[in-house]
C-alpha cells in the first residue's frame, strides 16, 4: 500500500477547495463579522479622488459598526489598493473574491478599472458596489451602480441650458476616451431634440494640458455655450486657459459633467466662478442631513477644509444600501443580496435614493450648480424628485421602454 505523500496532499487540497465556498457563510457568521472588500487607489495619479472614496466608504462602515453592525455582526473591511492601474485592480479584485472569499466589494472609480474587475465578479459570483457617475451601456448583474447614469446628468442639463440660459450653439469638448465620447453622443441627441445645434465636437488626449489652440477654436467657433466632458488634471489647465484668453463665463459659460468640488479646489475658485456643473450631489446642498454629513466627513479625515463630492457621497450611501439589503435578506450570499438590494431606499445626504429593481442603477435627483468665487456650487436647478436611471439612454432607452432589465440586456432593442 503506497499512498504517496503527494497524492495525499492533492486530495486533501481538493477536498478543502470543494468544501470552501459552501462552508463560507458559516465561517463568516461564526467569526461574528462580515468581511467586505474596499478597493480604491490609495496611490498613483488617481488617488487624489479615490482616497476620498475609500475614506467615505470606511466612514460609513465605522458608523454602522458603532450602531451595532449588520445582523448583529460587525463589518470587517479588507482594504486593497488599486494603485490607479487597471491591471492591479484586476489582481486585487481576484485576491478579495478568491482568496479572502469576500462577497461584496465597494470599489473602483474609473470606467477602465471597473471594466478590468468586471470579469472577476461575473465569473466568481461577487457583487461590486460602484459609486461613480459613468457613461452607461452596461447591465451587469454583478454590479450595483450608485453613481449617476448619463440621463441623470444630461437630460435635465441640456434643456435647462437651452431654455433658462437661452443658449443655442454648443461647442462639445472632452478628453479622448469612452466617457466623454458617450456623453457627447447623448448630448447631441438632446441638443437636437431641443432645436439647438452643436458646432463642434472636439477631443484632447487624456492628461493633455496645452489648451491654447483648442480655446482659440472655441473663441472663433461662434458657439455660445461650451459643454465640457474634460476630466482630470487637464481640466484645470482648460479653465485657466479659458480665462486667460479673455473668454467670459457670463457670455460663454462652460457647462460641465465632470468638474466637481475637488477640481475647483485645485484650480483656484476664481477660474471656474460663473460656470455650471450637473451632478446629483453638491457639497452646497442645504439640508441638515448634508451639513451633518460634511461635518462628520471632515472630522473623520481630520481635515477641516476637506470637500465632499458626488462620487464620494455615493461611496458613502451605497454602504447603507448594502446594509439594508443584507438585513432584508438575512444572509450574505450574492443572490440573496442582489435580490434584496433591488428596490432598497435610503435617505442619503442628497435626498432619497432607491435602487432600480430592473437595472440595479440608482434613482437620483439631478441638480445643476453654478460655481461661486468661494469654490462652492450654488444650486440653481433641481429636479422635484429622483429620476429613474437609464444606462442605455444613448440607444433610445426610456423609462417606458427599458433595454437593461432584470433579465439582462434586451439586445433586440440595441
Amino acid at each position: 500500500m503506497s499512498v504517496s505523500r503527494r497524492n495525499l496532499l492533492k486530495s486533501t487540497v481538493g477536498l478543502a477547495l470543494l468544501a470552501g465556498p459552501a462552508a463560507l457563510p458559516f465561517r463568516a457568521m461564526a467569526a461574528g463579522k462580515i468581511d467586505v472588500g474596499v478597493l480604491f487607489s490609495n496611490t498613483g495619479g488617481l488617488s487624489i479622488v479615490e482616497k476620498s472614496l475609500a475614506a467615505a466608504t470606511l466612514m460609513a462602515i465605522e458608523e454602522i459598526n458603532a450602531k451595532g453592525g449588520v445582523l448583529g455582526q460587525t463589518i470587517n473591511p479588507i482594504v486593497e489598493d488599486g494603485a490607479s492601474d487597471p491591471k492591479t485592480y484586476n489582481e486585487k479584485a481576484s485576491k478579495l473574491v478568491i482568496q479572502d472569499r469576500v462577497v461584496s466589494v465597494f470599489g473602483c472609480y474609473t470606467s477602465a478599472s471597473r471594466k478590468a474587475v468586471l470579469p472577476v465578479f461575473e465569473r466568481r459570483k461577487g457583487l461590486l458596489f460602484y459609486p461613480t457617475f459613468y457613461e452607461g451601456s452596461e447591465c451587469s448583474k454583478n454590479v450595483v451602480y450608485t453613481g449617476a447614469a448619463p440621463n441623470q446628468q444630461l437630460s435635465n442639463f441640456i434643456p435647462w441650458i437651452v431654455k433658462t440660459l437661452g443658449k443655442k450653439k454648443f461647442f462639445i469638448v472632452g478628453s479622448n476616451y469612452v466617457y466623454p465620447r458617450e456623453m457627447a453622443k447623448i448630448s447631441k441627441m438632446l441638443i437636437e431634440a431641443q432645436g439647438a445645434e452643436w458646432v463642434a465636437d472636439e477631443y484632447l488626449e487624456l492628461g493633455h494640458s496645452e489648451w491654447g489652440a483648442m480655446v482659440g477654436k472655441i473663441k472663433n467657433s461662434g458657439a455660445d455655450v461650451v459643454l465640457s466632458n474634460v476630466v482630470g488634471d487637464s481640466l484645470i489647465a482648460f479653465y485657466r486657459e479659458f480665462r486667460n484668453q479673455g473668454l467670459k463665463q457670463e457670455t460663454l459659460p462652460i457647462c460641465a459633467t465632470v468638474t466637481s468640488e475637488i477640481e475647483i479646489a485645485a484650480m483656484g475658485a476664481e477660474y471656474a466662478a460663473g460656470s455650471y456643473t450637473s451632478f446629483p450631489y453638491f457639497q452646497a446642498i442645504e439640508s441638515e442631513a448634508n451639513k451633518s454629513f460634511v461635518e462628520r466627513y471632515r472630522a473623520y479625515v481630520n481635515d477641516p477644509k476637506a470637500v465632499t463630492h458626488h462620487a464620494m457621497e455615493s461611496a458613502y450611501f451605497q454602504v447603507y444600501l448594502w446594509k439594508q439589503a443584507v438585513e432584508a435578506a438575512g444572509e450574505t450570499g450574492v443572490d440573496a443580496i442582489r435580490t434584496a438590494v433591488a428596490g432598497q431606499s435610503f435617505d442619503a445626504p442628497n435626498g432619497k435614493v432607491t435602487i432600480d429593481p430592473d437595472n440595479l442603477h440608482c434613482y437620483l435627483t439631478p441638480r445643476i450648480a453654478q460655481w461661486q468665487a468661494d469654490g462652492q456650487g450654488k444650486i440653481v436647478d433641481a429636479f422635484p424628485e429622483p429620476v429613474r436611471p437609464l444606462p442605455y439612454v444613448a440607444y433610445g432607452e426610456t423609462a417606458e421602454n427599458l433595454i437593461c432589465t432584470a433579465k439582462g440586456v434586451d439586445s433586440a432593442k440595441l
Binding site: 496611490t43 495619479g45 488617488s47 494640458s209 489652440a213 488634471d233 486657459e241 483656484g268
Partner: protein
C-alpha cells in the same frame, strides 16, 4: 491669424524653456538627462510650497526654483552622473531611474506618508499656483487678445536664453565649456578641469529646468507626473536643433512651436502632434546631426 501665431510663439517659448537646459547638458557632458522633466516638476512644487508656507508669489519663486533645482542637480551629478562619465546608455538609464525616484518621492509626500505625516501641498494631489494679478487679465489690442502670462513666459525665456548666451560666449567659463564641447580630451590637456565644469553645467541646466517648472506652474496643473511629457518635447527640440548649438535650439523650438500651433488650430491637437513628429523624423533623416551643428568632437 495673429492669434494662431501667438499660440505658436507661446508653445515655442515653452519648448525652448525646457530644451535650453537639456541642450547645454547634452552638448557639454554627453549626458541625456531623463530627469530633466522631474527637475522642472521639483521647480513647480517649489513654487507651490513657497506660496503656501513662505508667502512668496510666482515671480519670487523663480530664483528659488532655480536654486532648489540647481542644488538637486549638483547632488545628482555628484552621486550618480560623475560615476558614469562617458557612458551614454548608462547615464540615460540612471537618469531615468532618478526621474522615477523623484516622481514617486513626491507622490509619497517625500516618503513621509510612511510615518503618517502629511505636508500640505505635496503628495499625489493636483496643485496650482496663482498668477500675479497684473499678469492675469488679457489685454485687447483691437481684434487681438494679448495674454499677459504667456507673454511673460516668452519674455522670461528670451531673458534666460540671453543669459545662457552670455555665459557661453562672453565669459571665461563659457570658453571652457565650448572647448569641452569640441574636444574634452584636448580641453583637459589644456588644464581645464572638465569634471568641475561639467558639474557646474549640470547644476546650471537643472536650475533652468527648475525655472521652467515655476513658470509652467502658472499655466498648467502641478502634479507628480507633469515632467514626463516635458522631457520628450525637449529632446525633440535638441535633436532637431543640433547638439550643443544655442542658435539651433532657439530656431528649432520656434519652428516646432509654430508647426504645432498652426496644425492644432487648423486641425486638432492630435494631428499637430503627429505632424511635429513627422517633421522631426524628416529632419533627422535629412540632417542626422540636426539643423545646426559644427564639425569636430
Amino acid at each position: 491669424m495673429a492669434d494662431i501665431l501667438f499660440i505658436g510663439l507661446s508653445l515655442g517659448s515653452i519648448l525652448l524653456l525646457i530644451a535650453l537646459g537639456l541642450s547645454i547638458i547634452y552638448g557639454t557632458m554627453g549626458v541625456i538627462n531623463m530627469a530633466h522633466g522631474e527637475l522642472a516638476m521639483i521647480g513647480a512644487y517649489t513654487a507651490v510650497l513657497a506660496g503656501k508656507y513662505l508667502g512668496i508669489g510666482l515671480i519670487g519663486s523663480i530664483p528659488l526654483g532655480f536654486l532648489v533645482a540647481a542644488v538637486l542637480g549638483l547632488v545628482i551629478e555628484r552621486l550618480v552622473i560623475r560615476r558614469l562619465y562617458r557612458r551614454i546608455m548608462d547615464t540615460l538609464l540612471a537618469t531615468w531611474g532618478i526621474a522615477i525616484l523623484l516622481q514617486q518621492a513626491i507622490r509619497l509626500q517625500f516618503g513621509l506618508s510612511f510615518f503618517g505625516i502629511n505636508i500640505d501641498g505635496l503628495g499625489p494631489g493636483l496643485q496650482s499656483v496663482s498668477v500675479p494679478a497684473f499678469l492675469r487679465d488679457p489685454v485687447r489690442l483691437g481684434d487681438f487678445v494679448l495674454q499677459p502670462y504667456r507673454s511673460f513666459i516668452i519674455v522670461m525665456t528670451l531673458i534666460l536664453t540671453g543669459v545662457t548666451w552670455l555665459l557661453l560666449y562672453r565669459s571665461a567659463w563659457g570658453i571652457q565649456i565650448r572647448a569641452i564641447m569640441r574636444n574634452p580630451e584636448m580641453a583637459a590637456a589644456c588644464g581645464i578641469d572638465v569634471r568641475r565644469v561639467g558639474a557646474l553645467i549640470f547644476a546650471f541646466g537643472s536650475g533652468l529646468a527648475g525655472v521652467a517648472g515655476v513658470l509652467l506652474a502658472g499655466l498648467k496643473t502641478v502634479s507628480p507626473d507633469m515632467g514626463a511629457s516635458l522631457v520628450v518635447d525637449g529632446f525633440l527640440v535638441v535633436v532637431v536643433g543640433g547638439v550643443g548649438s544655442l542658435v539651433g535650439t532657439l530656431i528649432s523650438a520656434g519652428l516646432l512651436g509654430q508647426i504645432s500651433g498652426i496644425f492644432a488650430s487648423v486641425f486638432n491637437d492630435i494631428a499637430a502632434r503627429a505632424v511635429v513628429l513627422a517633421v522631426v523624423i524628416a529632419v533627422i533623416m535629412w540632417r542626422p546631426s540636426g539643423l545646426f551643428n559644427f564639425k569636430g568632437r
